[in-house]
Symmetry: C2
DNA sequence: TGTTGGGCTGAAAGCGGTGTCAATTCGCCG
DNA sequence: CGGCGAATTGACACCGCTTTCAGCCCAACA
């Protein structure tokens, strides 16, 4: 069975208080005593129980990171950033994907909330169930990549609107786009909505209509985009048309379909994506896209959360991260 | 401040024991009482403290997953599999990358061990520091992708040797390879070693020498492999030469360099990789590689660990996962 | 009507630490 | 040599929940 603090105390012939002091580095322990205790700890291979300590202190030093999914580079970058920051700040990171979020589901399957000091969470759709879960959240949390203005929690958001606008300006201004075809994920998806909205706005400002038949809602997937493009790409090619895919995977699918159909990118059709994932550098031609600072988003959300855990009553913070347009060959800007 | 169980008890006019019974679903509570308690819980938005419960029960239902790094599809797949399985089994997953593992470092920076019931860990190099950390581990753990025969813990390993052998047999037998160039990561890296060893063995059995000057230790990176290949690829091309890169990234780098140098793949040079990551489907030609069941590895390690938490004294298990050779165009087998 | 035996419920003892406060021990001053 | 404050250390009350174990109430039985 486990060796506990009282075992160490007995072994070192001191009281538990003293052992506790040694462990926590309080300086009021006589060097000689300290040494005895440390030896006992070493010999007994004593490992303090985080549970007991957490219970006393009223915090576990554990924070949750809940993501819509764990698949893809996108999320792994968030995790990476969050992990680095959490380590820095001395917190442990409990990671979980949202399991099933049905219509009426109570929201994220956060089994272990009773153990967490706070949570960073990202949801792909803001259903009522999720809204309810959020408002009932028993611990502080920060919302990632989701704009819920005026809400009483911290949030880290990506200024997608601005980025898309810059991208569209580039495509129209520098690359001579005269028609834009939009490829989104699910229509209810928050990112799809944000990117679509910004795209339409930007086009309107440029006097370029976004024709309803040029808007496709797919599923963020390479294959699906490929299939669609394989079918209808002839109707896109030429005439200064540009595909704006809401993520790089779909853009890559379009490029592949184009190559197969003999449609030249960017000459016959421009293609731009979003995310700047690994795939963007591997398409032929390489993909013009928007680099989203994923790792930074993970890190910032952890930072914000831990900050809040220190200052519970500070007013809600809102960190806005700016993505960056990355120009490569697929939009043809290099040619102009 | 937090609402605790005694608040609920007072509110429902029962004792804490009864509240506890209701929460844990013990059936010996009178329906009427149960209802009162449930209402109190609802009204007070009571959320039991996992810390206290864990302390009493002697387990936190939290397991750690420690990976060498969090970057790349590879690791994110492991996390995904582990997350799914952990959720299934009712455990929370604490994820962390190994931070610095210097020569003398005590090993993984596992701050939060005192909170974990067990750990699944994967290390990229088995230094003495790590060995020591392992043998001192205060909780059960399973080792991923690392062969430490006879050790007293569970492990999940990939039978890389077998997979590489099959790959080599394919390349030699079906594709007519007559010379193999090996591209590894760091020489001390466990995967590099395993893949190199298996490669050399397989070649020896086929009577094909692996020339020392055909062995390169790089860093698993696209760029590095590209640069190397850009320099020396002329000396590789022709004569039935095949590059065996120890991961897909490097293989992709070689293919890109070949394309730039006008070396035709697979006609002038065959290329095969390892891992079957996303990139393998995106190279031109698509990459023949070895599919490693990453998600399964994550899931299996969690399963094994949780099993051990039930049966502490069962004898160490060892799950061997078989990778699979995925033949695509880069080895030229389709031509034969 | 006195027992007996369930079915429910409550009191209390921890789980393994932390932190407060009092007690003990000294070094040193008057 | 007694007194004092600083330096150390110990005793003990909790943190919030689980889990015996005992107690209470009441129907059933004799």
């Amino acid at each position: 069975m486990r060796v506990s603090m009282s075992d160490v105390a007995r072994h070192a012939n001191v009281s538990m208080s003293t052992v506790s002091r040694v462990i926590n580095g309080l300086e009021i322990v006589k060097p000689e005593t300290r040494k005895r205790v440390e030896e006992a700890i070493e010999q007994l291979r004593y490992q303090p129980s985080g549970l007991a300590r957490g219970l006393m202190r009223g915090r576990s030093e554990l924070i949750g990171l809940v993501l819509p999914d764990l698949h893809g580079e996108f999320y792994s970058e968030i995790i990476r950033g969050a992990d680095a920051e959490a380590r820095e700040l001395g917190y442990g990171l409990v990671i979980s994907s949202i399991h099933k979020v049905g219509e009426d589901a109570p929201g994220p399957a956060i089994q272990h909330r009773g153990l967490l000091d706070g949570m960073a969470l990202m949801v792909s759709e803001l259903t009522d169930g999720i809204r309810r879960t959020l408002s009932d959240m028993p611990v502080p949390f920060v919302l990632l990549d989701n704009d819920l203005p005026g809400a009483p929690h911290d949030s880290v958001i990506i200024d997608q609107r601005h980025a898309v606008r810059k991208l569209m300006q580039h495509v129209i201004g520098n690359c001579g786009a005269r028609r834009v075809i939009f490829l989104g994920g699910a229509e209810s998806n928050v990112d799809t909505r944000a990117r679509f909205g910004a795209c339409r706005e930007a086009l309107e400002q440029s006097g370029l209509p976004l024709a309803p038949e040029d808007v496709y809602y797919l599923d963020f997937d390479y294959r699906t985009a490929f299939n669609l493009a394989a079918r209808v790409i002839p109707s896109w090619a030429g005439s200064g048309a540009f595909v704006f895919a809401a993520n790089d995977e779909m853009a890559a699918g379009v490029i592949a379909a184009a190559s197969q159909a003999g449609v030249r990118i960017p000459d016959d059709l421009g293609v731009v994506g979003f995310d700047d994932t690994r795939i963007a550098q591997l398409t032929h031609p390489a993909l013009t896209t928007v680099r989203v600072p994923m790792a930074l988003m993970g890190a910032e959300s952890v930072r914000l959360l831990c900050q809040r855990l220190q200052q519970r009553d500070a007013k809600p913070a809102r960190v806005v991260l700016q993505p960056e347009v990355v120009v490569r060959a697929s939009c043809g800007a290099a040619n102009k």
